[in-house]
């Protein structure tokens, strides 16, 4: 049994004192980077590459992996407290996390996020360990038609993402999709809607939109209510107490969305951001009280948090077992492997079991460290909300400005941030929901890409979408998920009439 021996070597590496030290260092830096505006795991790992040159490869990689999942763990803090996501994977966490914090339950919200992240991270590492060798085939099972169907399934949920006018939700979504078409079209190389500006050739960064629509728009409301103080006293805000009911409510979504997030994380190109959105929608779909979502629901926070962390572990499947980097961060990790003289790919598990299994085994410790590091800090971090409003507003603005600047180092993006802030404020004022906008932006771009890839491959025949089993199933699900609410409402009207 080579695999079991391999796993044991992995644990040996991970549980050596150096292993533990480097995991600790990695998750610490990661949490910190995640909390810092604009800095994601990509830049953190890229900066570390020259520093780790010449180090023991396993230890270096264990540390970098820690930075990666640590950042996703830490990124939720600013989403929850300030409505200003520090990294794109935690945008969905602000949907319910921020309202919960506004109700004076910031400590609780952070605790739910931390525990869900921990559970999502740990469950997915177990899955990773048991199934890693087999999962390689899952990672490459999705062709363009299947990706198209997956994105379609995500988009059909738009109407259900918000209450109120369906027309307004759809308008938000279409405009979000339109924003996604800005920039160079990868299939033809044409610049679309760039108004001749070089700054728009790459399209608009997701975080610029998220920070504008959420953080800046929220600041406008804070400005209007600047003389009020936050709900709840300092003590209450920092309280981590979760009731038995909360724990019960969390367990379902955490279990389900860890699994879903993990699977989505395995797919190259999907990643933590898309996973967190799809999990949020999925959980809302099956919830008994979907109307609570968006207003501080425990489930609505637990789902994306479990999912984005699970997706992070999932992203290691194609990287470690196939040498395929499915996201920007894993692409940089691949670079790190190369500098350290390793070649990730199908042969890694056999050639260097201590690296392959060492990284996976270290994630158990990493996740425990993250929980232990974060929980005691929550009462202090949560008190950010007791800062007097005028000062808090300035600091949130500063956070958002640096966050955007650190993405592209372009002042142009700062103007864009301001513009999206105004759009976000107007959208709220006229009851156009923001989540469909942001969902369509992120899924729409991928949907167009995979649709057109499919059409090029099939020379324009639409039947390619139904020839593949995965895409067929997903398309049927999309149709059902679109038709069911409509049919349901017609049926209930008839019954009433």
């Amino acid at each position: 049994m080579g695999a079991i021996e391999g796993i044991l070597t992995g644990f040996e590496v991970a549980f050596s004192w150096e292993g533990i030290l480097f995991v600790l260092l990695g998750v610490f830096v990661g949490t910190f980077i995640g909390m810092l505006p604009g800095l994601g795991p990509i830049s953190a790992i890229a900066i570390m590459i020259p520093i780790t040159y010449g180090m023991d490869p396993t230890l270096a990689l264990v540390m970098m992996a820690g930075v990666y999942y640590g950042a996703v763990f830490g990124g939720s803090t600013s989403s929850i407290l300030l409505n200003a996501p520090g990294i794109s994977g935690t945008v969905a966490s602000s949907f319910d996390g921020y309202p919960m914090a506004q109700q004076g339950k910031a400590g609780k919200a952070l605790a739910i996020a931390a525990i869900s992240s921990f559970a999502g991270g740990t469950i997915s590492v177990v899955l990773l360990m048991i199934f890693a060798p087999m999962l390689a085939s899952v990672a490459i099972s999705f062709g363009p038609p299947a990706y198209f169907a997956l994105m379609l399934l995500g988009l059909t949920a738009i109407a259900s993402l918000s209450e109120g006018s369906t027309i307004k939700a759809l308008i938000s979504a279409v405009v979000g999709f339109m924003i996604a078409t800005i920039g160079i079209d990868p299939q033809t190389g044409t610049g679309r809607f760039t108004f001749g500006s070089m700054n728009l050739l790459d399209g608009i960064d997701f975080l610029v939109i998220a920070l504008g629509l959420f953080a800046i728009a929220e600041v406008c409301y804070l400005v209007m209510n600047r003389h009020k103080t936050a709900a709840g006293s300092g003590k209450e805000i920092g309280s981590l107490k979760l009731s038995k009911d909360d724990a019960k409510e969390m367990s379902g979504p955490v279990g389900r969305q860890s699994l879903l997030g993990f699977i989505l994380g395995i797919l190259p190109g999907a990643g933590a951001t898309i996973a967190s959105f799809i999990s949020y929608i999925a959980e809302k779909r099956i919830a008994k009280k979907p109307e609570e979502f968006g207003k501080g629901s425990v489930k609505g926070l637990a789902a994306p948090e479990a999912s984005n962390n699970a997706a992070t572990s999932g992203a290691f499947v194609p990287l470690l077992s196939l040498g395929i980097p499915g996201s920007g961060t894993t692409a940089v990790m691949l670079g790190a492997f190369l500098v350290l003289g390793l070649q990730p790919g199908p042969m890694l598990m056999g050639d260097r079991p201590e690296v392959f299994w060492g990284i996976i085994a270290s994630m158990y410790i990493g996740n425990i460290f993250l929980l232990v590091l974060n929980l005691p800090l929550i009462p202090y971090i949560a008190r950010i909300l007791t800062i007097p409003r005028p000062l808090l507003i300035s600091l949130v603005l500063m956070f958002s400005l640096i966050g955007v600047y650190a993405i592209s180092f372009s002042v142009f993006d700062l103007y864009l941030l301001l513009a999206f802030g105004v759009i976000g404020f107007l959208m709220r004022m006229f009851a156009f929901p923001a989540p469909p906008f942001i969902l369509a932006f992120i899924l729409g771009g991928m949907m167009e890409k995979s649709f057109r890839q499919s059409m090029t491959i099939s020379n324009g025949s639409i039947s390619i979408l139904f020839e593949n089993n995965i895409s067929l199933v997903l398309i049927i699900l999309s149709v059902l998920s679109f038709a069911f609410p409509i049919a349901n409402s017609i049926w209930s009207k008839k019954k009433a009439g």
Binding site: M198, G269, V332, G345, F409
Partner: protein
């Protein structure tokens, strides 16, 4: 007030803790500065008077960024250059943002940047105002080669079989690459197809970022993956892909790499090299150009850099200022005619 204080202390704690782990690299910098002062004085020729900035016109982690960072690292560690070297990422628009930034540094002797084929292709596609003519080529240091890979059970065993099928019906084969049409992955394939007599206007090319290319060939969505050699070597070793041809003049070195046939030995007289080198802004002092040229020669010859090349699977390809310039001019003409034929020229 108390709470605020607590918050501040908390932040400072974080800072102190984080600062601690990085002290080693800070010390390095401090030492560099000391030595620099000594060496600066006894040098009559053109000498560096301030720190150097190397721009990678792309995000962290890509080829340009790694080249810039690893070169800066070796130049510093081997004490080839005693000034601080900072690497700056100017990401965006396939390099155009970085080039526009460099165009503003006209006349500077302390700003360098890394580029490769896109500095020829992107202006030709009409997406950058600036091309290599607007800068001073200093030295080329690295070469990468392309490869055309197919699934291991594909029906083609060599490039000629593939091109025979494509001559009959170009639309029956899907080519996948990472970048957009008109950029490197696409053009390198087109060049070879053209040399073999395929109707290149009808070639079906799919662009798949985020490593979608290798996935699509593995799961059978696309047929041929046009990419860099390093991207497929490991898949070949694991017996998942086979390489129909590499774009180099001669076979490459390495256990797996040497098994890849060149297109040339299959009777298709064409090569493609993805060169990568350093440029300065327009109107750089000729003495400074000479200074950097020599430094990059030393870098290229150093053992430390040879190790870096080996790790990344890069090849050595040094060209000095004059030779580089001429090479770039010729290459651009060549690419221009292909893009024109494809209807992609702006």
């Amino acid at each position: 007030m108390k709470k605020l204080l607590a918050l501040l202390i908390f932040v400072l704690m974080f800072l102190a803790a984080c600062g601690g782990e990085n002290t080693s690299s800070n010390n390095d910098n401090a030492n560099d500065e000391d030595t620099e002062e000594n060496s600066g004085e006894d040098n009559d020729e053109w000498a560096l008077s301030e720190s150097i900035e190397i721009v990678a016109p792309a995000g962290a982690g890509g080829g340009w960024d790694t080249t810039a960072r690893m070169s800066a690292q070796v130049l510093t560690e081997e004490s080839l250059i005693d000034q601080d070297i900072g690497v700056v990422n100017k990401e965006g628009a396939g390099g155009a943002i970085g080039w526009a930034y460099m165009a503003e540094q006209e006349g500077s002797n302390h700003n360098l940047f890394v580029s490769s084929s896109p500095i020829l292709l992107v202006p030709l596609n009409g997406q950058s105002e600036y091309g290599h003519e607007d800068f001073t080529p200093i030295a080329n240091v690295i070469a990468d080669y392309g490869a055309f890979a197919v699934a291991k059970d594909a029906k083609w065993d060599n490039l000629n079989e593939l091109f025979e099928d494509m001559k009959e019906d170009p639309q029956s084969v899907t080519i996948v690459g990472t970048s957009a049409p008109g950029s490197m992955d696409h053009i390198q394939f087109v060049r070879f197809a053209k040399a073999a007599g395929v109707d290149i206007t009808k070639i079906k090319y799919v662009s798949a970022p985020d490593a979608g290319g290798v996935t699509q060939v593995l799961n059978g969505s696309a047929d041929v993956f046009s990419t860099g050699v390093a991207e497929v070597a490991e898949q070949v070793r694991a017996d998942k892909l086979k390489v129909l041809a590499v774009t180099s003049e001669e076979r490459l070195d390495g256990e797996v790499l040497s098994t890849f046939p060149t297109a040339k030995e299959q009777g298709i007289d064409e090569t493609f090299v993805n060169w990568r080198g350093f440029f300065g802004p327009k109107d750089m002092d000729p003495a400074a150009v000479e200074y950097y040229e020599n430094k990059f020669k030393e870098l290229s010859d150093s053992e430390a850099f040879a190790e870096v090349r080996a790790n990344y699977g890069w090849n050595e390809m040094y060209m000095g200022n004059e030779e580089y310039k001429q090479f770039l001019d010729e290459e651009k003409e060549n690419l221009k005619s292909i893009l024109e034929e494809l209807g992609l020229l702006e």
